[in-house]
């Protein structure tokens, strides 16, 4: 069975006929060719596939593309503002929060959501706890935690500055 799925993907309306069983992650990667979102497991445990659906972090392997019909979907490709990196992206680079890069898009999308939800400056304990759905085999998390902390401090500062 095929059905038509339409969504806003990184600010652009896209539409395609896909098999009903198509997962959101496969719609993003294969139908739309945005390969920054990764697949690291088959049990929804690793977080390599995290994207934002209507402003919330979602594991895109847990959701059918059809369920995202009409939604606003943001992937790692849509995070930067042109050439200007999102503060979380920049913080991952500045703090060496990535090695092979495979978990990185999911980590970054999780981190953005985490900072948005907690609003204020994050502490290490909260960050580690919030990362429970994201596995990284390379970095040992040390620098990912540092990067998220730095980004959240910086974003808290930016918020104060604009208030």
């Amino acid at each position: 069975m095929m059905s038509k799925v339409t969504m806003r993907l990184n600010g652009k309306t896209v539409s395609a006929d896909v098999e009903d069983r198509t997962l959101l992650v496969h719609f993003i990667r294969e139908t739309q060719g945005l390969t920054g979102t990764h697949v690291g497991c088959d049990t929804s445990q690793c977080g390599a596939c995290v994207v934002h659906v209507d402003g919330k972090a979602v594991k895109s392997c847990t959701m059918l593309a059809a369920q995202a019909d009409g939604s606003d979907v943001l992937t790692v490709e849509g995070l930067a503002n042109g050439d200007e990196l999102h503060p979380v992206q920049a913080a991952f680079r500045e703090n060496h929060g990535l090695q092979c890069g495979f978990c990185t898009p999911g980590m970054i999308m999780t981190a953005v959501d985490m900072i948005e939800r907690h609003g204020a400056k994050l502490d290490e304990k909260t960050i580690r706890h919030e990362l429970e759905g994201n596995i990284c085999r390379c970095t040992g998390y040390h620098n990912i935690v540092k990067a998220i902390k730095a980004a959240s401090d910086q974003m808290a500062g930016m918020k104060t500055a604009t208030e």
């Binding site: 990764h38 990196l85 992206q89 680079r93 390379c138 040992g140």
Partner: protein, 786 residues
């Protein structure tokens, strides 16, 4: 980025593509008319294949072909090889059974591939694979190593009677026995090194494309060593001659050893792409990764340490059985022998060592190198028995170690290795200071007042990296040389491309290697690009494993740079009418010493290519290649100190402080080195506390997903406290030792020593789960937790 030389914490050049989603991994590649492969895998650990009925599958939508082992063998595809010959102590060669990429007759582990479906979409291929009917006759399976060697056990391969692959030894048995005869104290310890699944986050993948006109194959694959893959695919699996086979390892999402090997799936993808005349893509799902990526560790050891009356070690006697699984993977034979037993001297002056290793076949996934490969097993054994001995004789574990440290270099151990340089007191002192060793008793009683058990454990590890030299490893049975190659191309405009045989799958070579060029020529790192991972672009190279890319890979680059520099100086001297010996390279310029005459690097490069005015007889161009074969292994070493608190009510362990003091020799980029250590420590702590590949007695892997196999997550591990000391490695031009595996090698014994210290019971096996720790902490249940 500017000029960033050796020692700079340069941010990574490769990061931008990864943080913006522009990385290019194998599964991201798409080719016109591409098909997908799905494998039909054995659900049984041991069974005869009586027939395969593909008729239903072939009738399903989108299915191009169903291919079996019979066709594969018929087409002359060769058996999988093991690239390191080990001889038993009686002189006989190892007993190796045949391993086919698709098995036509007898399956020997759950997940072994028996057929492959090729279809238009991945969904169609997987659906059809489920519809292939394989008629199996189940055979009794054996999973446990001792059971496999027992009389009457199911036999896996006719070539290996009693399931024993080899019975190998190293060291002087008589002298070691004599040391035990005259010992004042003997410490005994039985150790299990638990089986692990490497789990790089990117699952393995292959995309094969056969060009019928050129009779040429291209393979995109998740490899740590694309040239070795091409060589093996060509020379042993008969896929195609090397010049008709291009192997590309694009961005690779972690390896940790598991992507060294050439697996059945890559072979089948290539073969099938010719068979169906379309590109074939295969992407492992995580369950397949658990079942088919080579596993790591899995040793059982009985060890004894002999001490004299002054608590000096006089002998070390070791008997190890290692499980190699159902087949011998590419380097599996070397891991429990030359990568393991040669490190049994640790950091200690031990005059007599003897080690016997038996390897066995069982109906489990093949076992091969995983981060550390043999050296973690050696370190866990040495550091656990050293700690145990110190406790038995009532010495402080730190002082017992110090008393037995090797103090002078070079030091020849009784097990082949000649340690070239080190200062083990320096890393021990640094770690003790950072963890406040003297303040521990106060912290322990403070914790006790809160009802917590606090413990401190040390581990003084040594490892051998940059496996070398080629002639030496050849004499020990290696089927390959272990050198590395490099080519440095200076372009006419002065930018530089470095082609390296090393491969980066997270290690940051694009940055570190560029720093080396920046240091040598004073050029901006942005003017340098590192080319790797494509057999059509790069000269033959050996790839990245065993922490070799710095000590071996960069040494090859240094050799090529030496040649480039010599030629550039000749040209500059000629152009400036100076003597060659007076030319100095500084800040991107070639200067005549003591004058203000100078030429930019770009001007010299351009002169080399315009060739209008070169010294008499000089060839145009500025491009040099080099091969570097190391003269010895390198020996990174250090001390790890781990402090834990155990909750006696729940058995839960919390790592409250972890200090790592490492001597890696010269460090090029401390930021990247620290990242390597963080990752290694977390894998080691994962082994110590969480990870275990468990089989049931029928050979089903019961931990085949992230629901059942406990990967370390962010709140399982602490932030780390890292320190470095430096003794320069005399064996290579940069003085580097390597840092990729140390964390995984050194950390497990530090954790277990800390927990056993906390609970006051030395009987505790890995992984030290809350249940086991709770049991071991119960008075009167001292053996229960093994």
């Amino acid at each position: 980025m500017g000029v960033q030389g050796i020692g700079a914490r340069a941010l990574r050049k490769e990061d931008k593509r990864f943080i913006t989603g522009k990385g290019r991994y194998t599964d991201d590649m798409v080719l016109p008319r591409m098909t997908y492969a799905a494998f039909v895998r054995s659900p049984h650990a041991h069974a005869k294949i009586k027939g395969i009925d593909a008729s239903a599958a072939l009738a399903m939508p989108g299915v191009e072909a169903v291919l079996t082992g019979e066709q594969l063998v018929g087409d002359g595809i060769g058996n999988l090889i093991c690239g390191w010959m080990i001889h038993s102590k009686d002189g006989s060669p190892m007993n190796m059974g045949a391993w086919r990429a698709l098995e036509p007759e007898t399956v020997r582990f759950v997940g072994q591939a028996v057929a492959v479906v090729i279809a238009d979409t991945q969904g169609q291929a997987r659906d059809a694979a489920d519809a292939v009917v394989v008629d199996y006759e189940e055979l009794p399976a054996v999973v446990d190593m001792s059971a496999a060697m027992a009389p009457g056990a199911p036999q896996l391969h006719p070539e290996a009677p009693g399931n024993v692959i080899y019975d190998w030894e190293i060291g002087d048995e008589a002298a070691t026995n004599a040391a035990f005869d005259s010992a004042a104290h003997v410490t005994r310890l039985d150790i299990t090194n638990n089986r692990l699944v490497p789990n790089p986050m990117e699952p393995r993948a292959a995309l094969a494309d056969y060009d019928t006109a050129e009779e040429h194959y291209t393979l995109y694959t998740t490899s740590q060593n694309p040239h070795v893959a091409r060589l093996v695919l060509s020379a042993f699996y008969n896929v195609a001659p090397e010049h008709k086979l291009r192997v590309i390892a694009p961005d690779v999402g972690g390896g940790f050893g598991s992507k060294i090997f050439i697996y059945p799936e890559e072979i089948v993808a290539l073969w099938a792409s010719k068979r169906v005349g379309r590109p074939v893509k295969w992407v492992s799902d995580r369950t397949e990764a658990f079942l088919t990526d080579a596993h790591g560790r899995d040793h059982k050891t009985e060890a004894e340490l002999a001490l004299d009356a002054n608590n000096k070690i006089t002998g070390f006697r070791v008997k190890t059985v290692a499980n190699l699984g159902a087949y011998m993977s590419l380097f599996s034979s070397s891991v429990p022998t030359y990568l393991y037993a040669t490190l049994l001297s640790g950091q200690y002056d031990i005059p007599n060592i003897h080690c016997n290793v038996k390897t066995v076949y069982t109906n489990t996934t093949p076992v091969d190198a995983y981060r550390g490969a043999g050296r973690p097993e050696a370190t866990f054994l040495v550091e656990r028995i050293i700690e145990t001995a110190a406790r038995e004789v009532g010495m402080s574990p730190a002082e017992f170690r110090r008393k037995n440290f090797i103090q002078a270099f070079p030091h020849q151990t009784p097990v082949i290795m000649c340690y070239d340089a080190g200062d083990y007191n320096a890393t021990l002192d640094a770690a003790l200071k950072a963890i406040d060793y003297d303040g521990f008793p106060a912290r322990k009683s403070e914790a006790a007042s809160r009802g917590k058990l606090r413990g401190l454990g040390l581990s003084c590890y040594i490892e051998a990296c940059g496996i070398a030299p080629s002639a030496a490893v050849g004499s020990l049975g290696a089927g390959v040389g272990l050198w590395e190659s490099a080519e440095v191309r200076v372009n006419p405009v002065g930018t530089i491309e470095v082609l390296t045989g090393s491969h980066s799958h997270g290690q940051g070579h694009e940055t570190t290697f560029a720093q080396l060029i920046s240091e040598r020529f004073g050029v901006d790192t942005d003017a340098v690009s590192i080319v790797h991972g494509d057999t059509d672009k790069v000269q033959f190279g050996m790839g990245t494993y065993g922490s070799r890319s710095g000590a071996v890979g960069m040494s090859a680059i240094v050799k090529a740079l030496d040649k480039v520099e010599a030629k550039a100086k000749k040209i500059a001297a000629h152009l400036m009418e100076a003597s060659e010996g007076d030319i100095q390279i500084e800040g991107g310029e070639l200067k005549v010493a003591g004058t203000d005459k100078k030429l930019s690097f770009t001007e010299v490069a351009l002169a080399a290519y315009t060739a209008h005015n070169l010294p008499e007889g000089m060839e145009p161009g500025l491009k040099e290649g080099a091969f570097y074969d190391p003269s010895n292994f390198t020996f990174p070493a250090g001390t790890y100190a781990c402090e834990v608190e155990v909750d006696p009510d729940t058995g839960k362990t919390e790592i409250v402080n972890f200090v790592a003091a490492d001597d890696f020799g010269k460090v090029i980029n401390p930021m990247i080195v620290e990242g390597q250590v963080h990752g290694g420590l977390t894998q080691g702590i994962g082994q110590a506390l969480l990870e275990n590949a468990a089989y049931d007695e029928n050979g089903q892997l019961v931990t085949a997903s992230y629901m059942d196999y406990a990967m370390p997550r962010a709140d399982d591990v602490p932030s780390y406290n890292l320190l470095t000391t430096e003794t320069i490695c005399p064996g290579n031009p940069l003085g580097m030792k390597g840092c990729g595996e140390a964390g995984a090698i050194g950390s497990p014994p530090a954790v277990i020593n800390a927990i056993t210290d906390a609970i006051g019971n030395n009987h505790l096996s890995m992984p030290a789960t809350a249940e086991k720790v709770w049991l071991a902490a119960q008075p009167g249940l001292s053996q229960a937790a093994e």
